[in-house]
Amino acid sequence: MKKGRIKVMQGNEACVEAALLAGCRFFAGYPITPASEILEGMARRLPLVDGFCLQAEDEIAALVAVVAASWGGAKSMTATSGPGFCLMMEGVGLAASVEAPCVIVNVQRGGPASGQSTSTAQGDLYQARYGSNGDYSLITLCPSTSQEMFDHTIQAFNLAERFRIPVIILSDEVVAHIREKVVIPDLDDLELVERKRPTVPMEEFIPFQAEEDGVPPMPDFNTGYKIPVISQCKGPYGTRGTAQEAVVFIRRLTAKVEKHIAEFADIRTYGDQKAETAFVSFGSVCRAARSAVDMAREKGLALRSVEVKTIWPFPDDLLRSKLKGAKRVIVAEMNLGMLRNEVQRVIRQPEIKIELFSKIGGIYPQPQEFLRFLEEKR
């Protein structure tokens, strides 16, 4: 049982609460439904901890300010929804390239374009991973409850600091606005990670020389290191890289995350771990999948709900082990099959049938529909 203060909160509010506890002191955002409560909460709370909240002129400015604030020495965050996430894409690549730890919350709503501003969706799954140009890697977390929104926000800051990457929290309108119990631990009980800082003086410091884990130490601006941070592919000293240096740089950017996937990969199973029929879902859809498992159990039907929490980089090995023994896999999601495609890529045995249960248009799936799907498609 978790210890701490108990509060009833929206996912968006839980995000604010956790960000402040994690040490976030710079926030920049632009109003957008259904993410605005995060910007509003930060505007209200950051002054109390000598932080700063900027309502930027657009989402491009918001994320760029967040990336620079990270180099300025602050833990920093932004929050948006699909249309704003589109504008942020250049900043995502920037954060990856200049290796600035930061957290980006995308509270998904319907798309494409302005889509359905007040309805839930999960159509930004690929955008979170592949939205910016070129090769890079980042981590994406998918909460399905207010508590997970809280926990994932803490974890997002920790992973960002650990790997010096942008970490994306892929929430959605349901998680953002549902009100439920959240246990808020005391600050002393939280494990918080801080970025590595240089241990050598400026003359000996090589700004983009990675240590064994692929992550270089990061000094704050104006602490005597006087380093050139450029958004180009760079060599270890920060100059524009040669072709060889670019190869090393790009490979390091991706490997520093993907080689350590076992450190953070997280998939949870609910229900009967050995059931032959398994749902696979992420984000708010996990909630309905769980209810479906419970309802089926009452009817004497064994089901398992496999819930992907760290969706990028995709946890291939962990998913395989979580789906061991399954004969029928139903991927449930609020898009036209993005997670299904990943599951198909990972699970290649012809005897395992992979089906798609897709709900779009902003209509959240009912647990009964899961069970009806099981019967009708049999």
Partner: protein
Amino acid sequence: MNPLGEKYLRKDFLPFLFCPGCGDGMIVQAFLEAVDQLGIIDDLALAAGIGCSAWIPVYIHADVFKGLHGRAIPAAIGLKATRPSRKVVVFTGDGDGLAIGGLHLLHAARRNIEMTVVLVNNQIYAMTGGQVAPSTQVGSRTQTTPYGNLEKPLDGCKIAVAAGATMVSRCSTAHLKTLSRTFKKALTHKGFSFVEVLSQCPVQTGRYILGSGAPQFNLQWLRDNCVPVDDPAKWGEIEAQGKIPLGDVLKIEKPEFMEEVKKMNQKVKEAWAKGGER
């Protein structure tokens, strides 16, 4: 090497990537003169985007953030807000600062956040090969206006004034002493300062618009066409003659943004401590 260069340049980054005859190296020198006289090298946080002028700060041995095209000003805000004692300076160009980054200029100016924006105006997109810029004169032939430019140019100084900047000046690389003095004024200004620097680009503007790629010709063109004036009220007259007025447009005192933020935070904390929220 110039003693300023010896003292402040990143030797391992040389040579400059600027073309022979470019004004950007002269701007580096004028800027370093101001920095040297003020003794602020350790406090500098330099921000830039993309384009020739965006490389100006990279050669200076200071903390430098060279990010995305047009996005130097938001980066500068992130740096300023996380430690307001920083001397934040943005180096941007006419394309970087007036086209793709134009919106950020408006909003930073209206906030009156303390920073200096140096907008290097060479009247063209130079690094990408000589395309029309928002500062290019009507009629100019460029790679993307092969039949002449139909669009009226933007005046960065007037935009900065309208948006709420509290110090605005226009200089040129043909008047280096004034440029250095203006940098000094801007770097000690409490609020948002905007310095436009007319600069020569022999390779693009010179060859395609002005008619010669010779560096001397291009510098002389600036001397002949830029007119220093003491009184900004006379800018209209100069412009009516088809010339470019130089000088200080505006220098006023207004509450600075980060200082106001600090005051507000203090008030909010006191109010919350008493149990009220506002």
